[in-house]
Assembly symmetry: C2
Homo-oligomer: 139 residues x 2
């Protein structure tokens, strides 16, 4: 958890590699997958470093974190900066960013109505993208 005391953050080769890998990906992926991808592309990096950087990036809001149906965390660098939702392929992780102001309104209203405070919400749609669906048929 403890990052550092000065609040300064250094530009390391590893962090750059992780950032770059995230930029290119259009899918949500697990820390382990990201780690393997980086190793395959020849990067020298440790799994721990991947976890630590993803965590700090998530804290800074630089990446989005979701939970797969099995509970494993998946990460993605999204296009839109603000709050939004996702439609995610449960097979390949490919995802689409979604927005719906109506839902935002409703959740706020409901939260207040039940006297809840500090409410956040997450809406995730898991399904099978068309690519994965047709790949399945063939086999």
């Amino acid at each position: 958890m403890a990052q550092n005391q000065t609040g300064v953050s250094r530009a390391t080769r590893q962090r750059a590699a992780i950032s770059s890998a995230l930029e290119q990906a259009d899918s949500f992926q697990t820390a382990q997958e990201l780690f393997e991808a980086l190793r395959l592309e020849g990067q020298k990096i440790g799994l721990t470093t991947v976890y630590r950087n993803l965590q700090s990036m998530a804290t800074r809001g630089e990446v989005d974190v979701l939970r797969r149906e099995d509970g494993e965390a998946i990460y993605r660098r999204c296009e839109s900066d603000g709050h939004h939702h996702h439609l995610v392929c449960r097979e390949c992780g490919m995802s689409v960013e979604l927005e719906n102001a109506e839902i935002e309104r409703w959740t706020t209203e409901v939260a207040h109505g039940h006297r809840f405070s500090e409410v956040t919400h997450d809406l995730v749609l898991f399904g099978l993208c068309s690519k994965c669906a047709s790949r399945r048929k063939k086999q």
Copy 2:
């Protein structure tokens, strides 16, 4: 995963105890918490049994399963039988069941629009219930 071959299911003391504990609870709780609660009330039961029963109950739709923000699974026997959403206190697990037909419509529409199939969705609101909020202020 493999349950049994006949499809028959036996009424055991342990399953009854779990069911009863779930009936009484108005909160989502982890398997471990449920296990401890059962032990405290004097039940002789194993943690594995709790996990296995929760799993089969979830499969049969007898309990709802959610993921806490840290990824841990939480369970609850809900009032409404059909599909619904939840407002959950992140401190005590207390929860409210929610329904919103508009969201159902929208998610289906969006899923189709992006050519996704077999789409399921989950909307969870995590917050602080009024009890936990006031408990916090006092301390």
